[in-house]
Symmetry: C2
C-alpha cells in the first residue's frame, strides 16, 4: 500500500490548528496559526492554503502522497461543504470546500467542529473500533457529534448532533443563547454549572470548584451534581431512543472532573432510558483539544477506507 | 434493465401480510395468511416460505426474476437479522433471516416493523424522494422508524427509532408498559389519549371521539389536544436535536384525525426545537396498513438501487 498523508484542520475563532496524519490515524506533525477574522473572515481560507502549501514544500511531499484536507468549522455545515453560519469567523452561507479546493488541488471535506471531534474519537480515541458513537462536549457551551456506521451525521440543515439545544426542561423560563428555553446547555455547560451552583448558594465558583467540592463531599455541590447528572442523563437517554448508539463519549473542559461525572450521568441515564439501550457504555474523551484535527483528517479518509 | 420483483412480508401477531413489488415500488399483488403462534411461533417461518413458494409457482416466476424477500417483525431486530424479542410471536434471539434463507434460496432481509413502515413511506409514500425521514406511528402504542441517507437505522441493540419510549415527563409517576415512567407512549398512543381525556373529565371516550370533539370546539377536548401536541412536539423537537431530519411522517390509527393533529404537533415542535431545525415538514402517512409490506420489499432493494 502506498503511504499517503492527510491534513486535518480545526478552525477556531482565535487559532487554526493543523495536523498531518498517516492512514492509520497517527499524528505525524502539528502546528497552529492565529485566526484573522478581519473583513468577514475572508482571509481565513487563503491563510489555511498557504500554511498547508508551505508545510508540503518543507517536507517535500508530492501530490500523489496527499489524500486531501479535512476541516472542522464552528457552526452548522451542510454535507456539500456549505457553512450555514460561523458567527465567530464572520462566515454565512459560504462554500468553504470549493473555496479551499480553488486554492489547493487536493480533495477537501468540511464539517462542524463538534461533529468532527466525535469522528476523531471514533477513529483514534476513546471510541476506536466502534461504529455508532455519540460525543457530547461540555465546555463554555455544550456541543455534540454523531457517528453512525462509521460515517459522520450532518443533518438536513447541518444541525445533527446539536444535543446542547435539546430541551430538557419544558417549564424553564430563563432564555438560552439560542433564543428558546430549557436547553441542555443552560444546565450542563461550564457556565450552566456555575449558574446551578449559585442557585444552591455556593457563591462565586467555577465548574472545577464544584466538582472538587463534590469529591470532598460538600452537600451543596452534591445537590448541583444531582441536577447536572439528571439533565445530562435525561438528554442522553433520549438520544438513545432515537439512534441507540453503543457508546457515549464525554469531552470538553468540564469532563476533566473525571469518572465521577460519568457516574452521575449513568445514574440518570439508566433511570430514563428504554431498557434495550442500557447496554451502552460511557467513557471520557481521550484526544482532548486535538480531537478536531484527528476527525478532520478522518473526514477525508472516511469515504474510502 | 431486467424486470424483477421483490416480496415484502409484514409479520403481525394475528396476520401475516404479503406483497409483490416491482423495482419502482409498485404493488403488483398482495395477500395475507393467519399467524400461527403455537409452539413459540416455530411454524411461522415455514408458513411464510410455503406461501411465497406457492405464489411463485402460480405466477410462474423463475429464480432470476426474484430479488429477494424483506420482512418486518414486531420487536427489536439487529442488522444481521436476529430478532431480539417479538413477544406477540413468541420469538426470542432468533435469526429469522438465516431461517428463511434456509427455506427459500433468495436473499432475505429483516427489520423492525415500525422501522420498515418508515422505509415504505420513504420509498413509495408521503416521504418519497426524501433522504432523512422520521416516522412516528400513533396506534395502541407509539412506534417510530428512522431513515437516514435512504438507509434504515437499526441501532446497536435494534432499538433505534423507539420514540414511543422517549421520556417526555421526568416527573411522571404512572408506570409505562416498558417499566419506566413518562414515556411518550403514555400520552400520545390511542390509550394514552383516552387516559388524558379521563383526566380532564371527558368520561369514557375513544381517541377518535376526542379529535371529533376538538374539531367541534369542545373545551375539554381542546385541553387534551394541547397536552397531546405538547408531548409529541417536545419529543419530535428532541429528535431534531439528534438527527435533524427533513421530514416527519405521522401514521397509525390516531393519525386519522388528519391535519388538525399536525397543527398541534407543529405548534409545540416550533416552541421547543433548535432554530435551524424549523425547516422540517410534517405530513400524514399515505400507505396506511400497507406501509409494512412496501418497506419490507424496499429493505431488499435498498442496498443496490
Amino acid at each position: 500500500m502506498k503511504q499517503t498523508v492527510t491534513f486535518g484542520v480545526d478552525v477556531g475563532g482565535t487559532q487554526i490548528k493543523f495536523g498531518i496524519f498517516d492512514q492509520e490515524g497517527h499524528l505525524l506533525n502539528d502546528w497552529a496559526i492565529d485566526t484573522n477574522t478581519a473583513d468577514g473572515g475572508s482571509h481565513i481560507m487563503q491563510a489555511i492554503a498557504l500554511s498547508i502549501e508551505s508545510v508540503i514544500a518543507k517536507i517535500g511531499l508530492t501530490p500523489d502522497q496527499i489524500e486531501g484536507v479535512g476541516m472542522g468549522v464552528p457552526g452548522p455545515v451542510l454535507e456539500g461543504g456549505v457553512v450555514v453560519e460561523a458567527a465567530n469567523l464572520g462566515w454565512k452561507n459560504r462554500n468553504v470546500k470549493e473555496e479551499l479546493e480553488g486554492y489547493l488541488s487536493y480533495k477537501v471535506r468540511v464539517a462542524n467542529d463538534a461533529n468532527v471531534a466525535a469522528l476523531g474519537e471514533q477513529w483514534a480515541g476513546s471510541a476506536k473500533g466502534k461504529k455508532d458513537v455519540v460525543m457530547v462536549t461540555l465546555g463554555t457551551g455544550v456541543g455534540g457529534g454523531i457517528v453512525l456506521g462509521g460515517q459522520l451525521l450532518y443533518g438536513s440543515s447541518g444541525a445533527a448532533g446539536e444535543i446542547g439545544h435539546m430541551c430538557v426542561n419544558p417549564d424553564e423560563t430563563v432564555v438560552c443563547n439560542c433564543g428558546k428555553c430549557g436547553c441542555l446547555e443552560q444546565y450542563t455547560s461550564a457556565t450552566g454549572m456555575v449558574r446551578l451552583a449559585k442557585e444552591v448558594g455556593m457563591g462565586d465558583v467555577t465548574a472545577k470548584d464544584v466538582w472538587d467540592a463534590v469529591k470532598a463531599g460538600d452537600e451543596k455541590a452534591l445537590q448541583v451534581a444531582e441536577i447536572y447528572g439528571q439533565k445530562l442523563g435525561f438528554a442522553l437517554a433520549n438520544v438513545a431512543s432515537v439512534i441507540n448508539p453503543e457508546i457515549y463519549i464525554v469531552g470538553g473542559g468540564v469532563s476533566k472532573a473525571g469518572n465521577i461525572l460519568l457516574e452521575y450521568i449513568e445514574k440518570y441515564y439508566n433511570k430514563y432510558v428504554f431498557a434495550p439501550c442500557k447496554k451502552a457504555t460511557f467513557t471520557l474523551a481521550s484526544l482532548g483539544n486535538q480531537g478536531g484535527i484527528y476527525g478532520a483528517a478522518r473526514l477525508v479518509l472516511g469515504e474510502e477506507h
